[in-house]
């Protein structure tokens, strides 16, 4: 078992430009990194003998509306060999809501990233098949954004909709 804090030190040492900050709230180790370094850091954490974070447990995003960096993409990694968890966070600007896809490293990132695209409208560079997953293609907007009102109605699609009638 590694001693506390070594992930932070290693990342800071290996990727000094990519590292922004760290914290451990209630024992959850969190590293905040620059988006340009995400793929390299994730690859390092996965491949290095020291950490072997071989499982991507969860991938999601959070919308902090009103903050400079509006979005944060959150990765939860788990190392089965060392039984250790770490959380990576990547802050994103609203106008550049794009981050590298981790599908080459972990296959499960495929669906998780599709879900984040669906719910938050964050794009993933290099994703093989980025399309909506829980909602339908004609859906307007991204519902988990904070500026999406909870009672918003969606236009009717399919037979009987306005488009359909115009076509006839």
């Amino acid at each position: 078992m590694k001693e506390e804090g070594s992930v932070f030190e290693k990342i800071k040492e290996k990727f000094p430009e990519g590292f922004i900050s760290r914290h451990s709230f209630r024992g959850d180790d969190t590293i905040i990194i620059h988006r340009e370094y995400l793929y390299r850091i994730a690859e390092y954490l996965k491949e290095s003998e020291e950490f072997r974070f071989n499982i991507l447990m969860d991938l999601t995003a959070v919308d902090y509306l009103g903050r400079g960096y509006r979005f944060e993409v959150v990765y939860h990694l788990y190392s089965m060999d060392f039984n250790r968890r770490v959380r990576l966070k990547v802050p994103l600007l609203e106008r550049e809501a794009v981050v590298d896809s981790l599908v080459p490293l972990w296959s499960c990132a495929n669906w998780y990233e599709r879900e984040v695209w669906d719910m938050f409208g964050i794009r993933f560079n290099g994703h093989p098949h980025l399309k909506r997953i829980l909602l339908y293609e004609e859906f307007e907007g991204h519902p988990l954004r904070k500026d999406y009102p909870i009672d918003k109605r969606q236009p009717l699609i399919g037979p009987g909709s306005k488009e359909d009638r115009n076509r006839k």
Binding site: M57, T60, N83, V103, N110, Y112, M119, H129, L144
Partner: protein, 469 residues
Amino acid sequence: MIRDSPSLVQGARKIETENDEKTMETTTKELKTKHMFLNMGPAHPAMHGIIKIVLELDGETVINADIDIGYLHRCFEKHCENGNYMQAIPYTDRLNYVSPLINNVGYVMAVEKLFGIEVPKRCQYIRVIMSEISRITDHLTCIGATAMELGAMTVFLYMMKAREYLYDLIEDVSGARITTSYTRIGGVKTDLPDDFKEKCREALKELRSVLEEVHRLLTKNRIFVDRMRGVGKISQEFAQSYGITGPFLRSTGIGYDVRKANPYLIYDSVEFKIPTGIEGDNLDRYLVRMEEMEQSSRIIEQALRDIPEGSVRVDLLDRIIESSEMIDLAKMGKTKELILTHSKVAPTLEGSEVQSHFRINVDKRTIVIPSKQDTYSNIEGLMNHFMLIMYKDGIRAPEGEVYFPVEGANGELGFYIVSNGTDRPHRVRVRPPCFPIMAAFHEIIQGDMVADIIPTFGSVNMIGGELDR
């Protein structure tokens, strides 16, 4: 093997070129065949929830598949953000609706981690007992439904019979069979009923006899084994790259279980084994689930044996004060002392003979909602209740973010909660255990026959509620 889930059109094109090359080389006469596209679902009797699998078939062999989910999406995460912390508990029932208590426990434990509180021992035991009962009902449903789809209707009926005994227990404790909403932040809704231990032991006895019957009916049944063995096989690397957990991962031989890896509640003080398979096929998953039910029964028995008793009618200072005394103090404005005091209910009020549950819940009135008897029978309880429930009041978590995993029936069920210090969570994210499995499903069924999809899909135990949220 095509790893990156290309669109079906691309997949079809690739196969066409391969076929062309083959005919060029061998120059034997080959029948020109066309791949067929078949929609399995959304409304198909074997698609447990609502899900659509678009299959590309060569004869009866699955060449490629595209999984379409989202039919049961009901904005769980958005709704959680728009209510306070307690209002999310009923929504969690609807995530995995065959084992709702595990979701209840997982959610409230994530919130408790955010607050940094730990529930009393008796409550921990109660939560473990209820979680394990839920795990058994989940496995019973999964195996029963799989067996039914393979033609073993008897097994299904037996399993539902066993499940009914356990649902009766859950109903006794929480008041509902499925929509339990049993846990509260910092505790549980009510203590166990008086005759729970005997009833639970009785139910486990019935369960074991059913499991024995099912073993006799299925485990060496030629038809069943032939359909399950070697079908839906996955390797360890495959499972890890897809982040698959739970019985699905354990069938490959990796003994990862959150209850052992990151023990929560009292799991480190009970003895149980993590069954693992060898092959990673459907048969192994069936056997793992069967053994897990036995292990869960063992956990319940140990917990019933060790659960601490104790009067639940005393307050935190081991002091009982009369309601009249409390009212007198309140009239004099000495409410400060009353904040953490539980009063005895006036005997004229209805419900005064019912036991309250101070000892099982955390002693923090700013977090834990008072018991119903308290709310309905004295003013302090009612005020406390209002302060926690009314709009813009309510419990306030410290700013921060936590991820808390529990072992759900299908794998790791994690809740990621972000708090911004207000009465509402900023973000609630649930990591549904069958989501990664369904993400991998198109690769698992590649190369199998159409009929093999049914047992493989059954062994995933896909639950629409948690997959689509």
